[in-house]
Amino acid sequence: MYTKQTELKNVSGLHARPASEFVALAKTFESAVTVLRLDDPEAKPANAKSIIKILAQGIGVGTPIEISADGPDEETAVEKLIELVDSKFGED
């Protein structure tokens, strides 16, 4: 299990196109990947390979999140996904 935290910096958050890109990237890894909102104590880890589950999290700009992966490529998976989030998905 490999875990890392970051914060959403792009204006539209993890919605629409950014959410699609995030899920598409997550699907390229063999490991199970989840996203957890850190600002909501009741939040549960959501399957990062499910567009619906990711959208339902309603992760907007400024939300702190934790990305975790478990499997053979867990470290790459988390690092690449963090990189994508930190790139602001090409916004602005």
């Binding site: 567009i51 907007g60 602005d92």
Partner: protein, 579 residues
């Protein structure tokens, strides 16, 4: 709706796009899922799960085909269906359905319905209304899968076998996007008014349309012969031979009159006493429309398409390219770009806007832009950069006070100095103006005119705000009076102040494209009329029949009348006398 004569029945509605059609009815109904809780005997798990998997394959193929057919002409609309494919292939959906089939022995349609509904509810609970709105996409995909499981074919308006009058409860942008325009002779819907999506589209394509026909999808049947009279606002069901003959004759005359009118399309716009006026085009995209050839300017370039068709905030570069393209289409003529006008009836998929009780009185257009300066500045930068490549003007919607004008002008000045600092070229003398659609700014037009380069009246919203009539509410369309004496008094005041100051004033609302409204407004001093291409010929023709003095007398009389009905009757009468 009562029986008249032997068999012929009549329905009434609101004619929003003029014309006549004699054709068969085609009822367009979105597939309605009818699913019951049902189970299969143990042992058939794999067979039923395979049925579901097969349906997924068919659904994906359907979606791929739609995307392929749209990606060239309307890539923005294709994105909706790309999003549907993502939902369809969501692994959690498949896991959920697998579990219901293998563990609970639920029939595939029941399993699909349950799982999709559960996920749709999950999205609906999201605080962000945009995410909640995605639940509709989930239901759309669910219906597609359920329809395939039932073995029914996809029902849309793309592959019509014969000419027909389409009858629907309502037509959505996705329906009209795929519609076969060659076969659709007329449109009848149960809901919608003169400014609805369907109405604007029908006028643009010159398809006769009657909206607000109650229970049309229940009363009319597939294959019924009808006469759609979108001049009077009636549908005649199964007309007798004599009636058909009368209408054939009417149709011939109507086409002849349309042709005579169309001869005015490329004429120089002049009134009978020789005064020149200008005709402009309203556009909302980057397509090179035919209408560009017949106009002197683009009075309204709506930019919402860039934002609404997109899954994300359009970048400066994307906007810059789109604006440049429009300037090229306009062939050197001035183009008035209206900055983003959302809120109210238009929202964005990627920007969370709270639900408002009165969106038309709420946080929309310029108000919203002034609160999202990044977004506003990106658009202004793109527009200013494009201004180096043509004759561009920038206009702000939803201006209510002098504070609005000053706040917007301040941002423009900031963006200009940023561009200067970066050494990026733009038109230094670019004109900056305002939409006049809120009565409070119309009433102080004498002050507003001093701080803007031009004004353009949006008569649709001005009517809405002056008369306190929500133009999206079908229950009160009778109160929407764009030709009221009150409207013409306000318009007259605005035209007078701008003309006195020697500044450009135009009208880009629907009233400019209405030949009766245009006639009165010419008499009130207006010389610039911007409209959809379908109205150009008629406005040029009607105005050509009157002298300046005659139009001034008409305008004077109109302001003394007491109701819209009196105004319309009077102006119609004056036009008929000339014909």
């Amino acid at each position: 709706m009562q029986k008249k004569g032997e068999q012929m029945r009549i329905l009434k509605g609101n004619p929003v796009s003029p014309g006549l059609a004699l054709a068969k009815i085609y009822i367009y109904k979105a597939f309605k899922a009818d699913v019951h809780e049902s189970y299969f005997p143990a042992g058939q798990e794999e067979e039923h799960f395979l049925k579901f998997k097969d349906a997924l394959v068919v659904a994906e193929k359907e979606l791929d085909e739609i995307v392929a057919s749209m990606s060239v002409e309307s890539p923005d609309k294709a994105k909706i269906f790309i999003a549907h494919t993502e939902i369809l292939l969501d692994e959690e959906i498949e896991d959920g359905v697998r579990e219901m089939i293998y563990e609970n022995h639920a029939m595939p349609d029941y399993a699909v319905d349950e799982v999709f509904s559960e996920f749709a509810k999950l999205l609906e609970q999201a605080k962000d209304p945009l995410i909640a709105a995605r639940a509709a996409d989930l239901r759309d995909v669910r219906n597609r899968v359920l329809r395939i499981l039932k073995g029914e074919k996809e029902n849309n308006l793309a592959n019509l076998r014969e000419n027909c009058v389409v009858v629907a409860h309502d037509l959505l942008p996705s329906d009209t996007a795929t519609m076969d325009r060659q076969r659709v002779m007329g449109i009848i819907t149960e809901v919608g008014g003169a400014t609805s999506h369907t109405a604007i589209l029908a006028r643009g394509y010159k398809i006769p349309a009657l909206l607000g026909v109650s229970d049309a999808t229940e009363i009319l049947k597939n294959g019924d012969n009808v006469i759609l009279d979108a001049l009077k606002g009636t549908v005649l069901i199964e007309p007798d031979k004599n009636t058909i003959e009368v209408y054939r004759q009417k149709l011939v005359e109507y086409i002849k009159e349309e042709r005579e009118t169309s001869e005015y399309l490329d004429k120089i716009p002049l009134v009978a006493s020789g005064e020149r006026f200008s005709v402009g085009l309203n556009i909302g995209g980057t397509e090179p429309e035919e209408g560009f050839k017949y106009v002197d300017f683009v009075g309204l370039f709506r930019t919402e398409f860039l934002y609404m068709g997109s899954e994300y905030m359009p970048t400066e570069e994307e906007q810059f390219e789109a604006y440049k393209k429009v300037l090229a289409n306009a062939m050197g003529n001035p183009v008035t770009l209206r900055t983003l006008d959302i809120g109210g009836d238009k929202t964005l998929r990627y920007m969370a806007l709270p639900k408002e009780d009165n969106p038309f009185l709420g946080n929309r257009a310029l108000r919203l832009c002034l609160q999202h300066l990044d977004m506003f500045k990106t658009q202004l930068r793109a527009a200013l950069r494009a201004s180096a490549f043509g004759n561009l003007q920038i206009m702000f919607p939803m201006v209510g006070t002098m504070d609005d004008i000053r706040a917007a002008n301040k941002i423009v000045a900031e963006v200009k100095s940023e561009l200067h600092a970066e050494g990026i070229a733009f038109d230094e003398r670019i004109k900056i103006g305002i939409m006049i659609e809120i009565p409070s700014i119309a009433m102080i037009a004498d002050q507003a005119v001093k701080e803007v380069d031009f004004g353009s009246v949006g008569t649709n919203d001005l009517t809405q705000y002056l008369h306190a009539v929500d133009r999206m509410n079908p229950a009160i369309t009778n109160y929407y009076h764009s030709m009221s004496p009150a409207m013409f008094r306000v318009l007259g005041k605005v035209f007078k102040e701008f003309n006195k100051a020697g500044k450009e004033i135009s009208v880009c609302g629907e009233l400019a494209g209405d030949h009766l409204g245009a006639l009165v407004m010419f008499g009130l001093g207006l010389r610039k009329f911007s409209m959809n291409s379908s109205n150009i010929a008629r406005v040029k023709r009607t105005l050509s029949l009157f002298t300046l003095e005659e139009t001034e007398n008409i305008a004077k009389k109109v302001q003394e009348l007491s109701t819209q009905a009196e105004v319309i009757e009077f102006v119609k009468g004056e036009v008929e006398k000339k014909n």
